[in-house]
Every structure is written in structure tokens, then in C-alpha cells.
């Protein structure tokens, strides 16, 4: 993990606020992501991590504040321009969100079929390779309903990286996987993020995985960014909230239940 702190800022979030039915979820999030870095977002369940990711790819629109990708403010783009931006993104949804009317192979190949002029044979080859990368080789013809939760997650990951995106958003990539597969997926994320032009943002509850993949860790708390720093800075933080969270303690300033 080399120093990326001088790279240009590619994703910029300013004063982001979002409420659902009078419940303020995001309350002034400020965040910068630099090209090539892997940012890990941590925070308690329900604190708005998935909501934040969905704002970054423009699936949700902010009540107040802005999200910009490479200087383009998403809320000011036309649908066509927004799609151009999204083409450079890959997103792994928290619950997979596989298309259940399509087979595994069709799920992974859909973006290739829709957005490239590649021939079927070439697409099939790419699909096979992506599935291989997530340890799901040869499963093209299975239907999503026939897969286990962890398998769905991995197919979904293969789908997210099918177009070799410059920006990858992972929403809990290793939740629901066994420790060995989880570690392999962490390796894959590190490998993908190792490419200097690939910027990734991962949400996770798994601190071991966070330390392993992150260039920088950011903690979301009470609708804002509580802290942002290198894994070492986070690990050695003396802030009681951060200390309680990363060590998974039931007692401390945060109420457990």
C-alpha cells in the first residue's frame, strides 16, 4: 500500500443530508476519496453506510449537499450523463441484488452485452474468467435461486467487476462468507484496488478485513464522518467511541442495544 494521499480527489461529498420519513440518516457527511485508494467505511448497523454508497452512484438523491465524481456534480447531470458516469462504476449490493430471472452467467454478462460490442464467445470467456476470480467457475448455468447466500454475494461481485470499472463500491463484500472464502475475497479486493487507476470504497463490519484492504478507514456515526485515518491511526485511536467499535465491546459510550 503506497502513499496515495497526494493523488487527485475523484469523489467529493459535501454537506450530504438525507432523511427518510423525518428520520435524518445522513446529517452533513463530508468526504473525499482520492484516485487509486481503497477507502473502508465502518459504522454501526443502520447508520447509513449503504445509503451513502447509493448517493455516490446516484441511486438516491440528497436532500441537501452534493456528490461529485471527477468534478461532475451528480445532481446536475442529465440521465444520459449520469449513465456515462455510472458506466465507470461497479457496485456490489449488500444483498446481492442478482437478477433472478437470469442465470449466473447472464447476470455477470449483462453489462457486457448491453454496453459493449463484444461477440458472444468473447463475453462468455470474460464471464468465465470473472466467475473464476470469485471462486464460482463453471457455475454459469445455475439460477440465483439455487445458490447459497455467500455464493450469491460472490456472483454479484463478479457482476460488479465485469466491465473492469474504475470505481468499485462494495457493500459488505464478505458478510455471510466463511472465513476462508472471506479472506480470498479480501485478497481479490486488494488485487483489484492494487491497480493505480482503480478507486474502491468498501463497507464492512469485519475489522480484520478492513485492516487488510484499507488504505484509509472512515467511521460514520450520527450521520457524520466521526473519524478518517489510516488503519494504524484507527487501531491506535484513543477516542472511546472508536475504541469501543473496533474492538466490538458491549460496554462504552455507544449503547449496545
Amino acid at each position: 500500500m503506497n502513499d496515495k494521499s497526494n493523488n487527485e480527489i475523484v469523489i467529493e461529498v459535501r454537506g450530504l443530508e438525507k432523511s427518510f420519513d423525518n428520520h435524518r440518516v445522513l446529517n452533513g457527511v463530508e468526504m473525499d476519496v482520492r484516485r487509486g485508494e481503497t477507502l473502508v467505511i465502518i459504522g454501526r448497523s443502520g447508520c447509513g453506510k449503504s445509503v451513502l454508497l447509493k448517493h455516490i452512484i446516484g441511486l438516491l438523491s440528497a436532500d441537501r449537499g452534493t456528490v461529485s465524481v471527477e468534478g461532475r456534480t451528480l445532481s446536475k447531470l442529465t440521465r444520459k450523463e449520469l449513465y456515462e458516469v455510472r458506466l465507470r462504476f461497479g457496485m456490489l449490493f449488500q444483498n446481492g441484488a442478482l437478477f433472478d430471472s437470469l442465470s449466473v452467467g447472464e447476470n455477470v454478462g449483462l453489462a457486457l452485452r448491453e454496453h459493449t460490442r463484444k461477440k458472444m464467445a468473447e463475453i462468455n470467456e470474460i464471464v468465465a474468467r470473472k466467475l473464476e476470480q470469485v471462486g464460482m467457475g463453471g457455475m454459469e448455468n445455475k439460477m440465483p435461486a439455487d445458490l447459497s447466500g455467500g455464493m450469491k454475494k460472490r456472483v454479484s461481485l463478479a457482476r460488479a467487476i465485469s466491465l473492469d470499472p474504475d470505481f468499485i463500491l462494495f457493500d459488505e463484500p464478505t458478510t455471510g462468507l466463511d472465513p476462508i472464502t472471506a479472506d480470498a475475497i479480501d485478497d481479490l479486493i486488494v488485487e483489484l484496488g492494487g491497480h493505480p487507476s482503480v478507486t474502491s470504497i468498501a463497507v464492512t463490519h469485519d475489522m480484520a478485513s478492513a485492516y487488510k484492504i484499507a488504505d484509509r478507514i472512515m467511521m460514520l456515526h450520527d450521520g457524520r464522518v466521526l473519524v478518517s485515518g489510516t488503519p494504524d491511526q484507527i487501531r491506535s485511536s484513543t477516542d472511546p467511541i472508536i475504541h469501543q467499535f473496533i474492538n466490538g465491546l458491549a460496554t462504552g459510550p455507544l449503547k449496545a442495544i
Partner: protein, 259 residues
């Protein structure tokens, strides 16, 4: 009093939001229309889905519709009107009204509900978000093929229903009313206008638009998990059935001017 007013206000707002949303979706469908030639597979799949799956049901419904129409008409005509008018009366009723409207009402339950349930499930399981995230316009990819398939297939099914219903009526006329098949068919033929058939199928195309558009729209605005999908599905059937009846009335007043 105040709460009543507030409730009325909210209902009006909800209604306007619903109608507004429908128009936005309609506009996006029109914008996406050219892409139908880029990926015709999607539309053809939907046409097969609607057509093949609905065939047996429409067959059943139209046999009974025709038979009952013949029986009831004959019963009302006895002693007043000569039975040679049975064919024309039943034929007209079936072609212009019964086949298109009953086909549409049955398919609102069959096709509209299944579209709403499918897209609603896709909405609550974030599959529609996933399409958006992949820069695939869900209106182009999901809605357009269903709406076009609806507009094409429902007239075809209604035409099929027309033929079957008249055959059903023929069987009843011959076996129960005891008139000859020539007499019945001559009646049908003598006053058969191609324009009636066109009118019936034009109505059916309108109904097809209503069924598929409402199904898609309800699916898209679904929220609240499995329960939400159930509600949306019911809503889709009720709303499209009501709109079919209203549209039928409006079209009748436009197409069939008296005097």
C-alpha cells in the same frame, strides 16, 4: 373537520402524484422507443410470455362468453324477434364489446398482476437499482418491452377470443336454440363490417396499453417488502380494471356516434 380536509388534501396529492408519475413513465417509454429495434429479443420474449401463457385462459373465457351470449340473446328474442337475427346480434356484441373487454379484464388479472408482482419484487430486492447502477435504463430494459408486447398481444388475443366466442355461440345456437348453422352464420356474415373488427381491436390495443403500463408503474412504485408486492399487485388489477371500463365508455362515445 380539519382532519377530514387534511385527508382529502392528501388523497388529492397522492392522486396527482400517481398520475404525474404515470405520465413521466409514459414519456420515458416514448423516449426509449427507438431502442426497441436494437434489442427486439426483450420484446419478443414478453410477447411469447403474454401470448402463450394467456391462450388457454382466453380460450376458456371466450367459449363461455359466446355460449352465454347466444343463450341469453335467444331467450330474450323468443316470440319477439325472428331467430335469423340471432347471428348478427351475437356477432356484433362479441366483436365490438364482449371479446375485447372480457379479454382485457381477464388479462388485467393475469398479465397485469404478474407484471406488477415481477417488477415489484425486482424493486424491493434492489434489482431495479442494480440495473440503474449498471447504467441500464430500467424503463428501456423492463417497461418498454412489456408495454409494447401488451399493445400488440392483447388485440391478437382479443381477435382469437372473438372467433372462439362466435364459434361457441354457434354451437349453442345449433344444439340448444335449434337453428341451422347456415342461418346463424349468414346472420353473422350479412352484417359483418371489417370496421367493427378494427374498432374492437383498437379498443383491445388501448386496454393492452392500460394493463401493461399500470402493471409496470405499480411494480416500480412498490415499497415495503413482500407485503408491498402483494398490495401493488392487487392495486394494479383494480386500477387497470377501472381504467379499462372508463376507457371502454369513452371510446364508445367517440367511435359509435348515434344520429
Amino acid at each position: 373537520m380539519f382532519t377530514l380536509l387534511a385527508a382529502c388534501g392528501k388523497m388529492t396529492l397522492d392522486f396527482l402524484e400517481y398520475v404525474g408519475g404515470l405520465f413521466v413513465m409514459g414519456w420515458r417509454i416514448i423516449c426509449a422507443l427507438p431502442s426497441i429495434f436494437v434489442s427486439p429479443r426483450l420484446t419478443i420474449d414478453q410477447m411469447l410470455q403474454i401470448g402463450v401463457n394467456s391462450f388457454p385462459l382466453i380460450l376458456l373465457v371466450s367459449v363461455f362468453t359466446g355460449s352465454v351470449a347466444a343463450w341469453q340473446t335467444a331467450y330474450q328474442m323468443v316470440d319477439f324477434v325472428p331467430m335469423r337475427f340471432l347471428g348478427v346480434t351475437v356477432g356484433k356484441a362479441v366483436t365490438i364489446e364482449l371479446a375485447p373487454v372480457l379479454t382485457a379484464l381477464v388479462l388485467a388479472g393475469r398479465v397485469g398482476a404478474s407484471i406488477a408482482a415481477e417488477l415489484g419484487t425486482m424493486r424491493v430486492t434492489e434489482q431495479i437499482d442494480a440495473l440503474e447502477a449498471m447504467a441500464i435504463d430500467p424503463v428501456r430494459y423492463l417497461v418498454l418491452p412489456r408495454v409494447v408486447a401488451g399493445i400488440i398481444m392483447i388485440p391478437i388475443l382479443s381477435l382469437f377470443a372473438t372467433v372462439i366466442a362466435i364459434l361457441g355461440a354457434l354451437v349453442v345456437s345449433v344444439s340448444v336454440v335449434n337453428i341451422s348453422s347456415e342461418m346463424f352464420l349468414n346472420g353473422v356474415k350479412r352484417y359483418f363490417y371489417i370496421s367493427d373488427l378494427v374498432a374492437g381491436q383498437t379498443k383491445a390495443a388501448m386496454f393492452g396499453l392500460i394493463i401493461s403500463l399500470i402493471g409496470c408503474y405499480q411494480g416500480f412504485i412498490t415499497s415495503g417488502g413482500a407485503e408491498g408486492v402483494g398490495k401493488s399487485t392487487t392495486r394494479a388489477v383494480v386500477v387497470s380494471a377501472v381504467l379499462i371500463l372508463i376507457a371502454d365508455f369513452l371510446i364508445a362515445t367517440l367511435m359509435f356516434r348515434m344520429g
